[in-house]
Symmetry: C2
Subunit: 210 residues, 2 copies
């Protein structure tokens, strides 16, 4: 695995798509796969598949031979960091936040949400899916105590920037933002926006241009 190869975000974001497709093959007990099949699944060219996989799983395949599904899955998980456990906290235990705390599937990606935070006093001290919920007022102490670097944010719009500022002050380095607003943040903080508007833009544009 060449960790030092510079790859683009676009390329990086294709890898989980490969992974999902390979998992569906494994689920159907298919053990071998060609670049052509992968290309069809991802709606891209065979050449691109070969180049992509060369980065993640070099020398794992031989000319003339199909690729091994299980081996590719292992290489991809390793490359993407899904084999390690990455701890995160969640801020904002509303409908969406509760859904995240309850969701069992994050462990497939090595993500472990270890606690939730909310301003609502009646939630403090309770648990969801065995995960404790703390008061937002203990955020700073807990973040430092737990040493967690990733925070999932699902708070009301109005308070989100304030919450994000607090998180950054407490030492959080990466923010997974589910709130549809623009966030100000220092350059060294990684922010990923799960913006619903992004998908909707694509839908409406494609629907209206048919």
């Amino acid at each position: 695995m060449k960790k030092d190869t510079k790859i683009s975000v676009k390329q990086l974001e294709r890898y989980p798509i490969y992974l999902n497709f390979l998992l569906s093959l494994r689920n159907s007990n298919i053990e071998k796969v060609s670049s052509k099949q992968l290309a069809e699944a991802l709606n891209c060219s065979e050449e691109q598949v070969r180049k992509d996989l060369q980065v993640v799983a070099p020398n794992s395949s031989k000319p003339g031979c199909l690729r091994d599904v299980n081996a590719l899955i292992a290489y991809l998980k390793e490359y993407l960091g899904f084999n390690k456990v990455n701890q995160a906290i969640l801020v904002g235990v509303g409908h969406l936040g509760s859904a995240f705390l309850s969701f069992k599937g994050f462990s497939d990606y090595g993500l472990d949400i270890i606690a939730g935070f909310d301003i609502e006093p009646s939630l403090t001290g309770t648990t969801i899916n065995d995960k404790p919920i703390y008061s937002i007022f203990s955020l700073d102490n807990k973040v430092k105590e737990l040493g967690v670097k990733l925070a999932i944010v699902a708070t009301p719009k109005e308070v989100t920037q304030e919450v994000v500022n607090k998180l950054i002050n407490s030492g959080v380095k990466a923010i997974w933002n589910f709130v549809p607003i623009h966030l100000e943040h220092p350059d060294d903080i990684i922010v990923e926006n799960m913006d619903f508007a992004r998908s909707l833009s694509v839908f409406f544009h494609r629907i209206n241009n048919k």
Copy 2:
């Protein structure tokens, strides 16, 4: 608005980011904005901002003068189709599905979830946020009756492909998939995957390469 201009998905997906930033400016009572400010907010070049906005809001600005925040918001919403009401149904009223039914913010994007569907009999006939929940067995009839073209899918992994097949058979043209699996679908069906793994890949890669 030049609807016929061919733009890339990458470009299209930048527009909701402009919109979010402009809304935050309006929220701060800022009425004018330069390409430079927009470029900083989106982490791109001024030239790109000008080109992007030229497509969405041509002739809305003049050399030497700053752009009008409210005018840009209006142009963007119009271009993205957020001014019209677009109806959708939701399949899978679990934790995540319930959160979507409860979420009030979709109306900002012109999205109206008009009903939920689930296999659980105890949910049938109930409502969440005034939205009725029907049995999955009435899916085909209801989709045809309502004439809805967009479906949000938040079902358990194992049944998702089956549900998607049913939706397509019933006339749904666009699928917003929140389930982290690979979906098979005809080319004329628009599928957008809200894949959690995509963001996590970016996080872990950037964290591990520091």
